[in-house]
Symmetry: C2
Subunit: 414 residues, 2 copies
Amino acid sequence: MRVEIISVGDELLIGQTVNTNASWMGQQLLNMGVVVDWVTIVGDSHERLKLAMTTAASRADVVIITGGLGPTHDDITKAVVADYFGARFVVNEEVLERVRERFRKRGLQMAKVNEGQALVPENAEIIVNELGTAPGMVFRTTEKLFYVMPGVPGEMKAMMMDAVLPQLKTRLSGSAVRVKNLMTTGVPESALFERLDNLDEIQKYAKVAFLPNLLGVKIRILAKGNDDADATENLRRAEMLLRDKIGGEIFTDHDISLEETVAALLVERGETIAVAESCTGGMIANRLTNIPGSSRFFDRSIVAYSNSAKMQLLQVPAGLIDAYGAVSFQVAQAMAAGARTMAQTDYGLSVTGIAGPGGGTAAKPVGLVFIGYADENETVSEKWTFADDRIGNKQRATQAALNLLRKKIMTRKL
Amino acid sequence: MRVEIISVGDELLIGQTVNTNASWMGQQLLNMGVVVDWVTIVGDSHERLKLAMTTAASRADVVIITGGLGPTHDDITKAVVADYFGARFVVNEEVLERVRERFRKRGLQMAKVNEGQALVPENAEIIVNELGTAPGMVFRTTEKLFYVMPGVPGEMKAMMMDAVLPQLKTRLSGSAVRVKNLMTTGVPESALFERLDNLDEIQKYAKVAFLPNLLGVKIRILAKGNDDADATENLRRAEMLLRDKIGGEIFTDHDISLEETVAALLVERGETIAVAESCTGGMIANRLTNIPGSSRFFDRSIVAYSNSAKMQLLQVPAGLIDAYGAVSFQVAQAMAAGARTMAQTDYGLSVTGIAGPGGGTAAKPVGLVFIGYADENETVSEKWTFADDRIGNKQRATQAALNLLRKKIMTRKL
């Protein structure tokens, strides 16, 4: 199946909006085993969008168009699509009623311009838009399939999940494909690879890809089979063999972040945490408090940049800082223990380090970071050596701290 | 000038990487008055990239290709370009020497595969790569101009700034264009528009566009003229008239963030700040500590989620929380003053609010936020009503707090 995505909008061409829609669609299609062949961005121009459709139809079986379906003058996609198919516009009563109902529910007067949303090319099948006024549309020709959706990410994603992806799946005749992503962090790609000394055996069942980024390595398993059950079984076998070797490094196989994984553990156990941050500068707290309901497990973070803040708010002894320096195993432990004691939480977590680009010395270079952890039984710290970019170092240290916490929680009995 | 960007790489099609390169190039070209006509993403396929070049040449004057110039087997761009132009490969001695020098400087053995970086199509002009091993290339035909650059963002950006944009500028014959972006925050687009009752007069000199996003409104001024001096003068007049009405809302006309603006003010004045955050959850600290050297002005942030943290670490009286609630003018002021007093800094800044999605009541709905400010002369607080998305509310409250701080600093004598 050859797929082309056409993203419509001047805002994409001038860089006011980044084309995350096409990325997201590419990911979703890959999870069905389909690699998108082309992405084309075209502005709000009738002539150019029509040309883009012609070009796409010449080289793809499925064309997915997003954007330009709003009610204002520069939303031209519907007119171009009607022109392309030589179709008349007709009023779709169901869509009209939905748009009216939407305004009624909110107690708002519907501007006349919104009635236009119910005008659709006569050959279009409608995809219901639960989140907005512009309907999605499907056009079928003998050989090609055209999908047209709004550019609003939430509306597009709902239509992809509810209609487009299931429809495409049924078209993928023959072999079935199943994809699963295992998220790891804290172990470099090469080390994961070495620990997987059974990779050849795994690859009998499924293709395995390592996708590293700043915060970890995503392991993508892509299994094929004669039917869904067969593909699912192949995936299961490959995953089992993988987990047998590196299961402890995998923090999720769902589309959730490390902080969500940690938060779910804490909420499930009814436990709480206090954080003490130096070089991460509030990033750990920021990530943990991005989670709705974080007040159930998150008590506080002390972002203690100055030494006086470390002493005053975390009870770090001045002598410890004098003897070992603020960036040390000892101070990391004192910070974690101090945060926990003062907040009376189950866990204390701390970071102290040199984010850079300045502040490094021969003995303590930029990128040196200590992570501290405390619970009622133990206080420990880890040493990491990261890189020389400030924000990257903040991100790496935050990730390493959350992962240390995750691993510690996992090994503790309730 | 009709411009097409071709972005090469499977990672873009499967959504592993978002195409921020094309967005950035679109912004830079717009700043010269050029709107990109097309962006095409194509995978690591010889046949498809060649087709993309043919298509681009049929509809654009300038074709900019990025990605696929590395030394490994799936980097095919150079071979396709040579094929497209029917050009032989020749060794470019200057490039070879640069690549060798790069490895020598780092004390590394150069892998043989890197010598290939010095092989270039015979009709290519070289753009020096100061940051990596793959050279950029320019191909000129009678009517068209092709640029080929690496996909590594830093390398691409340096080549754009040093070579591509200056070259294109000289091609833009006739009228000159000057663009300036004024960044504002805290005032909605419609209110800015109302205060600009002289917009018609301004538009005699330049086109003005309002570009709102979550954190503020960017005002883009685009001035034309018969030559550079003329365009510059038109820009100056339009900007002067704009600043006359809304100058106080503009925090920068450079490509810097609000936190960088605030940091520059603090460093210039040798002043320091302590922060107390509830619903922003460390985001203010995180943004301020993204700035290199932030320890010069940033002392600490207390991320006080629990009431006990507010009392223990910020000396907020328990009676105040009982009487007015944690989300109130009074507690915001007490938090700002407490942070400042305990840290002995020049300024205290605080946020307390309900980020959502849960936790709202009829009297104190989701989105309600109080921002507190304290210096040695005054302690004040502001009430804001934001929206119902948690992370958006954190971002809006962070922006509003930094902007209150900026405005207060601006009005204080040293």
